[in-house]
Amino acid sequence: MAEQILVVDDEPNMLRLLRTILMDKTGYEVMTTNNPLEVSKLLQEKSFDVVVTDLKMPLVDGMDLIDIIKKVDDKLPIIIITAYGTLETAEEAVQKGAYDFITKPFRKETILITIRRALEWQRMQKELAELKKQ
């Protein structure tokens, strides 16, 4: 089954581009929203493998969004997209439980590789959990 990716960004340009890039010959299924307030609802309705989110958004800060996502699914890898020059916050986000961050502007390949790694990490986490159960 195709991997499900949720992309959250308040800028429609970025949202459109990310959706197109992530769907271009990858087989991923991508859902986008420019409203971080509805992320929690979306996560409850549907199962995702990765969340890609902007760090700086007007309605909900990316940092708070990490908490919101972790509350629903604490194993879900979150990739933070951060602007130029907010590296410290991005590092803080990773400490808070985000899987990784990438800095804008970035190459198309960078986001694809990061997502691939996140999915791999997610798969290994699941396998580990299974093994522990046994």
Partner: protein, 853 residues
């Protein structure tokens, strides 16, 4: 007394050194900022490749960084040159303001009256009344073309309306929530906003102004249309905002609100958010024009947007009001006119136009059926077509860009211009191979139509009947529709192709489709009957064919990629910013055009400032400014009487009277000295092949002896830092200045070199100048030879290359010393040049006896 004198003397000396040090500091800061500016521009240009994702915040950061560097460059240059280029400040400021305007697309609204008559409008008033009305004013007032009477309700009025009614905050709140992906909620939000605008009262002063302006038009039909500021500039808002035809001036306040409300239709909001305008941008001005009782109307493109190479003007025409030509409601007549001076009508496609839109006596418009004879007859006669074409070319010439023009013809045959805006000329990035017309991959389902947007695409047919269905159009659909629907803009970023049964390439929908690069065929009669919903088809818009199924060989290389970052607004913003930043028009420092006042871009400023800063350093006049006492002296076996002033990091030791060559840390200076020490250079003596040359040198030597301290060389000075060298030398009777900077940063590196004088007669000195010019050119310098003076400059080579060239420049100075007597003829000049190229630096061919030994 003596002590006081000495103190004063020493003080001047110290001041001179401080002055040099300060100059060098300005120079260094200028270089640093120059590098930073060039790096920033390069970084931004790299983002144009389409491989990167970036947002507005990135642009903001880079624009600020670039602006900062450029301002520093201008300041440092003026500090370095005693304020020789004050005009650069204003130019830099203006360019930066223009760039900021591009970035924010949020121009300040000029404080004007709420209403301005058309007779007061010109292109410069675009920020107050929108480009549409400003251009109309320009056509009427400057070009004296026929335009309707009228006036504009300004952006200042819009601002007043929004503020006074509290709408601005309300709108911002709604717009922030408008989701771009969800068409249904977009519709709901749009309805709410529009109701708010329609019901908000106008402030009394504005209402009064509108009624007063409308008074002269009472009882005469009026057209009220949007003229948004920002509309018709780089973005085409074709058909996005409303036009009210044949309305009563007494109701102007209501009409005004209606037009303002049209800014917030779902399709306008979509388009507007898609193009990344924020809530506070794009103020809405409104144009009010006397209705032209139009017998025929239409659209003209001063250049066929598809065949830009064909030099054709495209005119479409319908009977009655132009709305039907603009909306594409019926298929209009289509005329192609040659842009050559004879304006020959090359094609005339007269359509059957069964209906026309006309003004109703009680207001508004109505569609009337035309008698068959009129329906089939052309709307324009050849003379009118040519008159229109001539106007099209005139407008194109005046506005400096192909134009998209709306026109109307009244009953007496007068042509009125209703609008002129830049035509979006698209050149498809995918190569549309011309196909043999006889070749068909499979029998086509449809084989006619007019290409509105080129390219090919395949997908499932979706029959679009009602505007409300737009949300249910699936991605990748081939949309088939009876008449052009601008509403389709809502899905143009996701559909494969559009086919319409009527319409023309000049209608609004086609313009929008071109912007989104959706392959589009219009005037494909019967498309809705032949094609069935869900059927998979391939549309070849270039060949005007529709085939069943997917035809891969047609699609190959001709489907615009979905992943077209370059079409995204923020990308276009970057492109527009770079247009003001990176092109270089000041190319040749020797040209009379190379002036501060001619800087057109930020790159020009950096280029100019860098060049002039190097000139300023070159002209430091070091040997006049410095006294040997304050400098260290070089202990060397070279025939040099050399004094060194270290401005920082150039010497291993400080405050020593004598320094050794190994104490020198300055990279460019070390390179130069290595050249002086080249094993194949002969320093002792000159070569003299004939007696005449010898006498000439002897005479000049006698003359120059008094000026020089020692026979072989006067005082030479080197002002150095770790990376910098300014070398003023007397080698023999030559005077040479060399100014160089070497660092890891390629952009900063340069060598300026000047060589003049000498002991020989004018003729030989000039020959030598020519020879040195040839050699410098050979070494990669840009060279200028004037009389016996040679000047050369090389810039932006790598550290290693610049260092090697400096070595060669050192070598060349020694090489040149020997030439005073030798250059007895032009042939010897050639031989010497050859000798240099062959690394025969001691000119052994002129020293037969030495080469034997």
């Amino acid at each position: 007394m003596v002590f006081r004198f000495l103190r004063r003397f020493l003080k001047e000396e110290v001041d001179e050194q401080t002055r040099l040090r300060l100059k060098f500091d300005h120079f260094r800061h200028l270089l640093e900022n120059n590098t930073l500016a060039l790096e920033t521009m390069a970084d931004m240009e790299e983002k144009l490749s389409g491989d990167y994702l970036f947002d507005r915040a990135y642009l903001q950061t880079q624009v600020e960084r670039l602006g900062g560097s450029i301002s520093h460059i201008v300041t440092e240059l003026n500090l370095l040159t005693e304020n020789r280029y004050p005009e650069l400040r204003a130019i830099s400021q203006q360019l930066q303001e223009e760039i900021l305007r591009e970035l924010t697309a949020n121009p300040d609204i000029p404080a004007t009256a709420y209403v301005l008559p058309l007779s007061a409008l010109t292109a410069e008033t675009a920020l107050s009344v929108g480009a549409k009305m400003a251009n109309l004013g320009e056509m009427g007032n400057r070009l004296h073309l026929q335009v309707p009477e009228g006036f504009a309700i300004t952006a200042a009025a819009y601002q007043r309306f929004l503020k006074a009614s509290g709408l601005d905050e309300e709108l911002a709140k709604h717009l922030a929530q408008a989701p771009i992906d969800d068409l249904e909620s977009l519709e709901a939000i749009s309805r709410e906003i529009q109701t708010l605008v329609r019901t908000a009262p106008l402030p009394p002063d504005l209402e009064e102004a509108l009624l007063a302006a409308g008074k002269p038009f009472l009882g005469r039909p009026l057209a009220v249309r949007s003229s948004a500021v920002g509309e018709d500039t780089d973005f085409s808002f074709a058909g996005q905002f409303a036009t009210l035809l044949n309305v009563d001036a007494a109701q102007l306040p209501a009409h005004y609100r209606e037009i303002v409300a049209s800014k917030f239709t779902s399709r306008a909001i979509f388009y507007w958010k898609y193009q990344q305008f924020s809530a506070s941008e794009l103020p809405m001005a409104v144009g009010c024009l006397a209705m032209v009782p139009a017998r025929a109307s239409g659209v003209m493109f001063s250049l066929d947007p598809h065949e830009t190479g064909s030099h054709t003007i495209l005119i479409s025409a319908v009977w009655g009001l132009g709305k039907y030509a603009v909306d594409g409601a019926i298929t209009p007549d289509l005329y192609r006119v040659s842009r050559a001076p004879d304006l020959e009508v090359t094609e005339q496609r007269v359509a059957a136009k069964p209906v026309a839109l006309v003004c109703r006596p009680e207001g508004g418009t109505a569609e009337v059926a035309l008698d068959p004879e009129q329906a089939r007859s052309p709307c324009l006669n050849p003379e009118q077509i040519q008159d229109l074409a001539a106007i099209g070319l005139k407008l194109e010439k005046h506005f400096g860009h192909p134009q998209d023009i709306e026109w109307a013809l009244d009953d007496s045959g007068r042509i009125f211009l209703l609008q002129s805006r830049p035509l979006r000329v698209t050149v498809p990035s995918f190569a549309a191979e011309e196909r043999e017309s006889t070749w068909e991959p499979v029998p086509p389902l449809l084989r006619y139509g007019v290409r509105a947007v080129g390219g090919a695409a395949a997908g499932r047919v979706f029959q679009f009947h009602r505007d409300e269905d737009v949300a249910s159009i699936p991605p990748g659909a081939v949309v088939v529709v009876r008449q052009p629907a601008a509403k389709l803009v809502l899905v143009m970023d996701r559909i494969a192709a559009i086919l319409t049964e009527v319409g023309s390439p000049t209608d609004h929908m086609s313009i929008l489709a071109r912007e989104f690069r959706v392959p589009t065929l219009v005037d494909v009669g019967g498309a809705t009957k032949v094609l069935h919903p869900g059927q998979i088809v391939t549309v070849d818009a270039d060949a005007a064919r529709v085939y069943p199924g997917v035809i891969p060989e047609l699609l190959q290389g001709r489907t615009p990629s979905d992943l077209d970052i370059q079409r995204v607004p923020v990308f276009q913003k970057l492109r527009r910013i770079l247009k003001k930043a990176t092109p270089l028009s000041l190319l040749d420092p020797e040209s009379p055009e190379f002036q501060a006042g001619r800087c057109r871009t930020l790159h020009d400023i950096t280029r100019f400032a860098h060049e002039k800063a190097m000139d300023a350093m070159f002209a430091l006049d070091v040997d006049q400014a410095l006294e040997p006492r304050s400098c260290s002296r070089l202990q060397t076996d070279l025939p040099l009487n050399l004094f060194i002033l270290d401005l920082g990091g150039g010497l291993r030791v400080k405050g020593q009277t004598w320094v050794k060559e190994e104490d020198i840390l300055s990279r460019p200076f070390r390179a130069l000295l290595r050249g002086f020490h080249h094993p194949r250079v002969t320093w002792a003596g000159q070569v003299a092949p004939d007696l005449k040359g010898f006498i000439s040198v002897f005479a000049n030597t006698m003359y120059d002896m008094g000026k020089s301290e020692k026979g072989l060389g006067g005082k030479s000075f080197a002002v150095i830092t770790e990376n910098y060298l300014n070398f003023n030398s007397r080698l023999g009777y030559h005077f040479a200045i060399l100014d160089a900077y070497i660092s890891e940063e390629k952009n900063d590196n340069y060598i300026s070199y000047q060589f003049k004088g000498g002991a020989a007669g004018v003729e030989r000195r000039e020959r030598r100048a020519r020879l040195l010019g040839d050699i410098l050119d050979y070494l990669g310098f840009k060279v200028q030879v004037t009389g016996d003076m040679v000047q050369g400059r090389m810039v932006k080579y790598s550290l290693l290359e610049t260092e090697q060239t400096l070595e060669l420049a050192g070598l060349l100075s020694a090489f040149a010393r020997q030439l005073d007597l030798a250059l007895s003829s032009d042939a010897v000049v050639d031989r010497c040049f050859q000798a240099f190229k062959e690394e025969d630096y001691n000119l052994s061919f002129l020293r037969p006896q030495e080469s034997v030994t």
